[in-house]
């Protein structure tokens, strides 16, 4: 009884630590990293093959209903925001952070001090190694080799013992530091992305020239001074632009013309020129033809400006264009007219009619159906024969406090990856020992390259050739 409790008491902290180590090992493993990268690549591919964020009809039409049901279940229609995709990103961060924690200290230590004392078998076991006998003095050989290494940009450490000298030369450790900079930067980018999703917002504003809009997130107003489109000679659209003024506490703070690649920024809120289009509830002007009911003859025609009165003196008629919808819809409950879609499917204008100083009912006049309503009490009927829709400017309104972190992370990522690709870590060891029968010296030299083997081979050959040349000089 006693013995068993003792045993569990002893083994408990041990297994716990073991478990922790195993966990750390797992999370910092390259295997996990490769698995995560490949899995993320596959999931991202799924997201590009199946269109994201479409309306259900689109999927059902293309893939059928069963498939659509599965897509919804599996999150395939918004795969980049599923729990599993996010988990992969988070795991990748944990993976690279633990990797950093596990491996970076050793690299850091080797910047300060490194293995200088090695054995001859160690040197001979290295990927490249050579043995050269020289009829020269140990001090000279050592100095010569140290200079040769230094000339190639190596940092050289010499350990002079009683009988033998060990030389250690290294360069390019910064390449490995850079790889770890890249690892850390991944987490920065992901954090920046999360921050943007949690704290930031992204809205779309359909704005009309001359109007003022309140921006609640920044507690200021935005006035659209002007919107216009520039064209190339061949008629293609070259750019579209809006002049915007920020108004805060009744004061104009800032005016800027934004265009597609040039947004306005105020109080951390970005206004992008994102699109434009024909608005669905407003026209600049409309052409109206007036016919006499009795004869069906055209008796007048006018281009009506938005909300401006037009007077037909000889007909005793005043018309005003008071409303417009692009796709006529009628809400029976609220008795309200609205535009069913943003498309100009069934356009109609509302006319305010004053005939011989008498205000009549205001009818809707349809572009597609000229004779739909009879206007009681009027001698005339009205036809809408054309209109010019008011253009709206589409503004993307965004705030993303994470973006700075993303840029810092991205910069570090690019710098880290570039340096790690350009700088190769190399190490060379040499031992200069007395030659056979105390004649001259024997040099054992060997080295490894963490990568970039062929370039290292060339460099190593140059070192050994130089040594050999020295030998032949001395002989």
């Amino acid at each position: 009884m006693d013995a068993t409790t003792k045993e569990t008491e002893e083994s408990k902290p041990f297994t716990f630590k073991e478990f922790g180590d195993a966990l750390l090992e797992f999370f910092s493993s390259l295997k996990l990293a490769i698995f995560l990268m490949i899995t993320m690549a596959i999931l991202a591919t799924v997201g590009t093959i199946i269109q994201q964020g479409e309306r259900p009809e689109v999927y059902i039409k293309e893939y059928g209903e069963t498939a659509y049901w599965w897509f919804v279940k599996l999150g395939f229609i918004d795969i980049y925001h599923t729990w599993y995709f996010s988990s992969i990103l988070v795991l990748l961060c944990i993976n690279s952070l633990t990797c950093f924690q596990q491996r970076f200290p050793a690299i850091w230590r080797s910047i300060r001090q490194d293995k200088v004392n090695v054995t001859v078998p160690f040197i001979q076991s290295l990927k490249r190694s050579a043995t050269v006998g020289l009829a020269a003095e140990r001090g000279h050989v050592t100095e010569d080799m140290a200079l040769a290494f230094a000339a190639r940009g190596y940092r050289v450490l010499v350990n002079k013992g009683d009988a033998e000298t060990t030389i250690y030369a290294t360069k390019g450790i910064m390449g490995r530091v850079a790889a770890h900079v890249a690892h850390l930067s991944v987490t920065l980018i992901v954090i920046g992305g999360i921050l943007g999703n949690v704290v930031g917002f992204r809205d779309f504003g359909v704005c009309i020239e001359g109007e003022t809009y309140h921006i609640p997130q920044g507690n200021f107003d935005l006035h659209v001074d002007k919107f216009w489109i520039d064209y190339y000679d061949n008629g293609a659209v070259k750019s579209y632009n809006s002049t915007l003024t920020v108004i805060e506490n009744g004061e104009s703070k800032l005016t800027k013309t934004i265009t597609v690649n040039d947004p306005l920024v105020y109080k951390g809120i970005w206004f992008y020129q994102s699109s434009y289009g024909d608005s669905w509830d407003r026209v600049e002007k409309a052409r109206v033809v007036v016919r006499e009911k009795a004869t069906d003859k055209v008796v007048g025609e006018a281009i009506l400006e938005w909300k401006k009165e037009a007077v037909f003196k000889d007909l005793g008629l005043k018309l005003q264009l008071t409303d417009f919808v692009a796709d006529f819809g009628f809400d029976a409950k609220d008795r309200r007219v609205y535009s069913k879609t943003v498309e100009h499917e069934n356009p109609a204008i509302k006319l305010a009619i004053t005939e011989r100083e008498q205000t009549l009912t205001s009818p809707w006049v349809f572009y597609n159906y000229p004779d739909l309503f009879d206007i009681q009490g009027s001698k005339y009927k009205f036809e809408l024969t054309g209109y010019l829709a008011k253009k709206f400017t589409g503004l993307q309104i965004t705030k993303d406090p994470g973006v700075l972190l993303v840029w810092i992370g991205s910069t570090l990522l690019v710098v880290g990856v570039t340096l790690s690709a350009a700088i190769y870590h190399r190490r060379v060891w040499a031992k200069v020992v007395p030659g056979p029968q105390g004649q001259g010296v024997t040099v054992y030299v060997g080295g490894t390259a963490y990568k970039g083997q062929i370039d290292f081979d060339r460099e190593f050959n140059r070192f050994t050739e130089r040594l050999n040349a020295r030998g032949s000089q001395a002989v």
Binding site: L30, K31, A33, I34, M37, I38, M40, A41, A44, T45, G47, T48, I49, Q51, Q52, Y80, G193, R202, Y232, D233, N234, A236, V237, K238, S239, Y240, T259, V260, N261, D262, P263, W270, Y272, S274, Q396, T398, D400, V403, V406, W407, S410, L413, V414, V417, T418, A421, K451, G452, Q453, I454
Partner: protein, 304 residues
């Protein structure tokens, strides 16, 4: 002033000639090799005959000349663009982008030849440059001309974002070509004919492998940089740095694929045979990212 399209045509024929020359170089090296082999079994003693030497030299010069014309064609196109729209980036549509990739691939190859002097690689990598140029010239005419840019593209970002991304594709193309070369050489070795056939002029397997890795290590940072520049541009043009648009997603996919390659090499020993296959697979993914996405998937980049 030459029309750009004419110069692109000339480039095409020059690259074709270069490919033929590199293959003839390989073929003629073989015949001279056999007697030399008897006395010198070591690979380093491979001697090209005078024919091979001449063809090799000619191949290099024709390639170089092709590169110059390719560059001039891009320059002429830049000039044409300047006339119509005030931006000059000669990589603003699919055709130009492919012509630029072929320029970068060939330029990369010539640098490689200058540094390592291994002409056999030319047969593979110049072929890829040639194929890119050839595929470009197969595009319908309306894709080849310089149309004015849509507003979102009309920006200085296009100069750097597109060119860097395309250069990374060229590096991956090089890695893919080296992967093919590796597999061929490996097969020849398995059949015991590596020393006596055209494969004798190939560098050692280890060297091919290492060069392939180096090519990836050029492409990987470039693609990272190019993609991030794209994100910065998107942040100005579309109001968000990342919108999971198919093109940018595919750039990420390709980047992750090569990221896995780099790390797999490090610990899972994915060198040699597997790395070669992976490099070819990677190139196919790049080709999809470059072409497939534009033609098969819809998205914001569809105009590119």
């Amino acid at each position: 002033m030459f029309r750009a399209l004419f110069l692109f045509d000339v480039t095409f024929w020059l690259y074709l000639a270069a490919v033929v020359l590199y293959f003839s170089y390989l073929a003629t090296s073989r015949t001279v090799l056999q007697p030399a082999m008897a006395g010198h079994p070591a690979e380093t003693t491979v001697k090209e005959g005078s024919w091979a030497e001449m063809l090799g030299l000619l191949a290099t010069w024709v390639t170089f000349f092709g590169l110059i014309v390719n560059g001039m064609a891009l320059g002429a196109r830049a000039y044409e663009r300047m006339q119509i729209s005030g931006t000059f980036a000669p990589w603003s549509n699919q055709f130009e982008a492919m012509a630029y990739v072929s320029f970068a691939t060939i330029a990369g190859y010539l640098l490689l030849e200058l540094k390592y002097g291994i002409k056999a690689i030319g047969a593979f990598v110049v072929s890829i440059g040639f194929i890119a140029m050839g595929a470009a010239s197969l595009l319908p005419y309306r894709y080849q001309t310089a149309e004015p840019l849509v507003p979102a593209l009309n920006s200085y970002w296009i100069y750097i974002h597109v060119s860097i991304t395309l250069t990374s594709y060229a590096a991956f193309a090089m890695a893919g070509g080296l992967g093919v070369m590796y597999l061929l050489k490996e097969r020849a070795e398995r059949r015991g004919m590596a020393a006596t056939s055209v494969y004798a002029t190939f560098p050692s397997l280890e060297k091919i492998d290492e060069l392939g890795y180096k090519a990836v290590m050029v492409g990987f940072p470039l693609l990272a940089f190019g993609t991030i520049l794209g994100a910065m541009w998107a942040n100005y043009a579309w109001g968000g740095y990342w919108s999971w648009d198919p093109k940018e997603t595919w750039a990420l996919i390709v980047w992750l694929i090569y990221g896995a390659y780099i790390h797999a090499r490090m610990n899972r020993g994915w060198e040699g045979h597997r790395a070669a296959i992976y490099q070819i697979f990677g190139l196919l993914m790049v080709v999809f990212c470059f072409w497939g996405v534009n033609f098969l998937l819809s998205g914001l980049h569809a105009y590119a």
